[in-house]
């Protein structure tokens, strides 16, 4: 009986210290604050539902298409997607110059995500100035795949 008690107490201490340790480590190292925009590839985005409205206004004034980027801080694929795909020099240049960009945090902007039937990140939705969806790009595609799409959508909207 004594052995069991001893083992139980040891395991309890082990569990509690593990719990405490991982909790502190997470708070210290892995606070995921949206403010640092770490998953947005250093590109400026309008944010959230208000940003989308704002985005459409700008889009109509400047006749630019709107690209909505759904991401989440816990999304492993987004990290690579933002550096390699959105961060690709050619893609980035087109996006920054010819698009109105809106970012949606999948955890916060749930309603918008539902409205556009987006259920996982990363996910891009391309729209014209009136909000008609022109193209959807689900998943962490690479730059070679995305580049023709951003070019085509831009040209389509311009030619209208």
């Amino acid at each position: 009986m004594r052995t069991k008690k001893l083992v139980s107490i040891l395991v309890l201490i082990l569990i509690l210290s593990f719990a405490y340790f991982s909790y502190i480590t997470a708070l210290k190292n892995f606070t995921l604050s949206d403010k640092n925009s770490s998953y947005l590839g250093g590109i400026k985005f309008h944010r959230a539902a208000a940003g989308l409205e704002e985005g459409f206004q700008i889009a109509q004034q400047e006749n630019k298409p709107v690209m909505m980027y759904f991401w989440a801080i816990w999304c492993q694929y987004c990290a690579k997607f933002q550096t390699d795909t959105l961060g690709n020099t050619q893609v980035k240049q087109i996006l920054e110059n010819d698009y109105v960009l809106v970012a949606m945090d999948l955890d916060i902007d749930r309603e918008v995500a539902q409205q556009y039937s987006v259920s996982y990140p990363p996910y891009l939705v391309f729209m014209d100035t009136k909000g008609n969806v022109l193209q959807r790009v689900p998943g962490a595609v690479d730059a070679n795949y995305l580049l023709p799409i951003v070019t085509k959508v831009r040209d389509d909207v311009r030619s209208k």
Partner: protein, 787 residues
């Protein structure tokens, strides 16, 4: 509005409350007069719930979109099997399934025990309380709610935009990720498991309350049954994740996966504890019932994780408001079980049992059980504390820079210890204990030495991953352990299991032989699973960003690293076999049958363009396009004018929204159109919109150094409910999978990702062994003292 389905649910609620009262009267006051109605009431309740489930399925099959839930998760163009499985695509339906299986279990319990023993009667009481709780949970968000009860629909009807008896013509559609065979079996397996755990839980509660014997016998088969179903449910979920892109292999430590894995772990602990408890009632007399109760609580917890929205999961297939009731359920059960457990602990007479020291079988077994608890806790904590921090401090935190790293590093050491304990216990022999301890120490020594072996990249954490550099030092320390260190304990466990199997096979009488074989097979299963998981996740070769022009069809294209891909064929098809286009807007046949109600109003139709007339008017130049649209039920002309020519061709699928006119005379085409829709170009869109499931399929062959190593079709499914990829998975006998993901055709290019995944078959074999083993164990009904 109370629908037929709801009425049935209320009736079953009434019956179960009635049965509960009957049982309570009998149990507390020994009043018999209601008792004879109890069993029929439970049977009727189970029957009604089964009927209500079939009714829901019927609504799905007949695409009755008057029901909100059906509208949400189905559409008429889905193949039959996905209409049936749509019933368990969302929370409402799964709860109904859960409560149905629970009542079927209660009915079985009533039928087999007749509530003769106090134990059976009281277990039934707890089961019924749980059942009533679940019926209420189901009723709160009833699957039988009408679409007319949606606030936005109520508003639209009040404004007069919708008729008062509005029924949507088409459903919202099923999420593309759920359109997969494995997804049709995953939820029922899970929820059958969730439901059947109630009986061992109820029996354990009764035991803690009354100290009555026989609880373990009563719950034994149920616990094994739950273990099988829950385990297979999780495994099928893994197969599904493997076959649908985006989840990173068959196990990604997604909160929901993890949440369902936790009760399975504690249940495994329970099965181990129970196997000793039944031989000696004083062994694990608290640990065993507590583990059964904890498993049940964790099942409720898993239900919260799936639907609360607090957890960052890819499972966000529905959202909801039953959270509070679930949390209260958990809180009450937890408090009750802690109080009961404590009471038992202090009541337990101080047994003057001989302390056999650490190296006795019971104590090593106890360590094993605790290891399951530790592993369960690691998983529990990893999904729980981020949610807790978010709730209390409003901060989002991750558990590691890459979520799966957290679970992998902490689980790894304990998995090794578990394997060591497995090796020791399965080969335990009192007489040769010293010899066996020596073997164990040697294996332990080897494990520790191999931890330090340096390899290219075969460590607990992937050193090439971008996340590696960002992990804190202790995580790196564990992450630096060489995975070679799993092999000594893995081999030891295998060797022990073989020894044990030989012992079992030597037994003359057939029952223990079958049961022993089952036990050995289950333990082989875990060896296979771990081997497959470790090898496949560490040695997968990935070639990303392969773009093959469609024009290169039939040619072998080199994609680097000695691999090549040849595209054999590309095709698209509708998922539903009946290819009549069921489209957005009004069916043309409906318009044709009563044109008067559509003329001079806005009408939306969709279908295939069967003929096009393009005209150019004199300056100021405008382009007019006449197009005939056929939706399979009839055809109708539409026209539009634009300043630039429109690219409308025959064969295109279009949705057109516009103003309907009758008897329109066009001089330029020299035709009088009896009915025609005038539309602005903005109101014309490609595709037949809602609920169409289109599959792009690319047939290809994969070559390595000029030799064909795999072939098949990689598919991409697009629907209103999102898109999904269904990779080509070609397995070979050696266990290496050729895995090709196709992300959908873009700009005439077929984008592919090629993966070569070794040994994954071992994991699948291991899962099969789990199932075979536990079924063998269940097949043998061993007599025990209680019966």
């Amino acid at each position: 509005m109370i629908t037929l389905g709801d009425t049935i649910l209320y009736a079953s609620l009434f019956l179960s409350v009635f049965a509960l009262i009957g049982l309570l009267l009998k149990d507390l006051k020994n009043i018999d007069f209601l008792n004879k109605f109890v069993i029929p009431a439970i049977m009727a309740g189970a029957g009604l719930l089964t009927f209500s489930y079939l009714l829901l399925t019927y609504y799905f099959v007949s695409s009755d979109f008057a029901y909100d839930y059906v509208w949400q998760y189905s559409s008429s163009d889905l193949p039959l099997v996905y209409k049936i499985s749509g019933a368990w695509a969302g929370q409402q339906g799964t709860y109904l399934l859960w409560v149905m299986v629970l009542f079927l279990s209660a009915a079985w319990l009533a039928w087999t025990t007749r509530h003769i023993t106090k134990m059976a009667r009281r277990t039934q009481i707890i089961t019924l309380v749980t059942g009533i709780y679940l019926i209420i949970l189901t009723l709160i968000q009833s699957p039988f709610k009408l679409i007319l009860e949606r606030p936005e629909v109520i508003d639209l009807i009040a404004q007069g935009s919708l008729p008062a008896n509005f029924v949507p013509p088409e459903g919202n559609g099923l999420n593309a990720l759920l359109v997969n065979f494995w997804m049709t079996v995953h939820p029922p397996l899970m929820f059958i498991g969730y439901a059947t755990i109630t009986i061992p839980f109820a029996a354990a509660i009764v035991y803690l309350l009354t100290k009555e014997d026989g609880w373990e016998e009563l719950g034994r088969q149920w616990a094994r049954f739950t273990w099988l179903f829950l385990g297979m449910g999780i495994a099928v979920g893994g197969v599904w994740a493997y076959l649908v892109l985006g989840w990173g292999g068959f196990w990604a430590w997604d909160p929901v996966e993890t949440a369902s894995f936790i009760p399975w772990l504690t249940l495994t602990g329970f099965l181990h504890a129970a196997s000793h408890h039944r031989k000696n009632k004083s062994t694990f007399s608290i640990a065993a019932p507590i583990l059964a109760i904890v498993s049940f609580i964790l099942v409720l917890y898993a239900a919260i994780v799936v639907r609360s929205g607090l957890f960052n999961s890819v499972h966000a297939f529905g959202d909801t408001s039953t959270g509070t009731l679930l949390i209260s359920g958990i809180a009450i059960t937890t408090v009750v079980s802690i109080v009961l457990g404590m009471r038992r602990y202090f009541e337990e007479p101080d047994k003057v049992e001989e302390d056999l020291g650490f190296w006795s079988k019971t104590n090593i077994f106890y360590v094993t059980i605790l290891l399951f608890v530790v592993l369960a806790f690691i998983s529990f904590w990893g999904i729980t504390f981020p949610a807790f921090i978010q709730l209390t401090q409003g901060l989002k935190v991750g558990v590691a820079s890459d979520t799966k790293n957290f679970f992998n590093i902490w689980s790894y050491p304990f998995t090794i210890i578990l394997l060591l304990a497995l090796g020791f216990c399965l080969n335990y022999n009192e007489k040769q204990k010293e010899q066996q301890k020596k073997t164990l120490f040697i294996v332990m020594g080897l494990t520790i030495i191999t931890m330090f072996l340096r390899t290219e990249n075969f460590y607990v954490l992937d050193h090439n991953s971008p996340f590696w550099a960002r992990e804190p030092s202790i995580y790196k320390l564990i992450g630096n352990i060489s995975v070679i260190s799993i092999f000594p304990s893995l081999i030891y466990a295998t060797w022990s299991t073989i020894q044990r199997l030989q012992d079992y096979l030597r037994i003359k009488s057939i029952r223990p032989k079958i049961k022993g074989t089952g036990i050995a097979i289950v333990h082989f299963g875990i060896v296979f699973i771990l081997f497959g998981a470790v090898i496949s996740s560490n040695f997968t070769q990935t070639i990303e960003g392969v773009n093959i022009p469609l024009a290169a069809k039939g040619e072998l294209v080199d994609i680097g690293n000695g691999y090549g891909v040849k595209i054999i064929d590309f095709s698209t098809r509708n998922l539903a076999e009946t290819s009549n286009i069921q489209a957005a807007g009004t069916r043309i046949s409906e318009i044709r049958s009563s044109p008067e109600s559509y003329v001079n109003t806005n009408v939306k139709i969709s279908g295939k363009v069967t003929s096009v007339v393009n005209l150019q008017s004199p300056p100021p130049v405008t382009y007019t396009t006449y197009m005939q649209i056929d939706d399979g039920t009839g055809s109708l002309w539409a026209a539009t004018q634009a300043e630039e020519p429109l690219n409308i061709e025959e064969g295109m699928e279009l949705t057109v929204n516009g103003f309907m006119m009758t008897n329109f005379r066009s001089n330029s085409t020299d035709t009088t159109y009896d009915l025609i829709i005038f539309s602005s170009p903005d109101e014309i869109s490609q595709g037949v919109a809602s609920g169409s499931y289109k599959v792009q399929s690319v047939k290809l062959e994969v070559y390595q150094d000029g030799k064909k190593i795999g072939s098949g079709a990689a598919e991409y499914l697009e629907s209103k409910g999102g898109s999904g990829t269904f990779p080509l998975v070609d397995s070979s006998i050696t266990g290496t999978d050729v895995y090709v993901i196709f992300q959908g055709l873009g700009g005439g290019v077929v984008p592919l990702t090629l993966k070569i995944i070794p040994a994954v078959n071992f994991a699948w074999i291991g899962i099969l062994l789990f199932a075979i083993g536990i079924i063998l164990i269940m097949a043998v009904r061993t007599k025990s003292k209680g019966e």
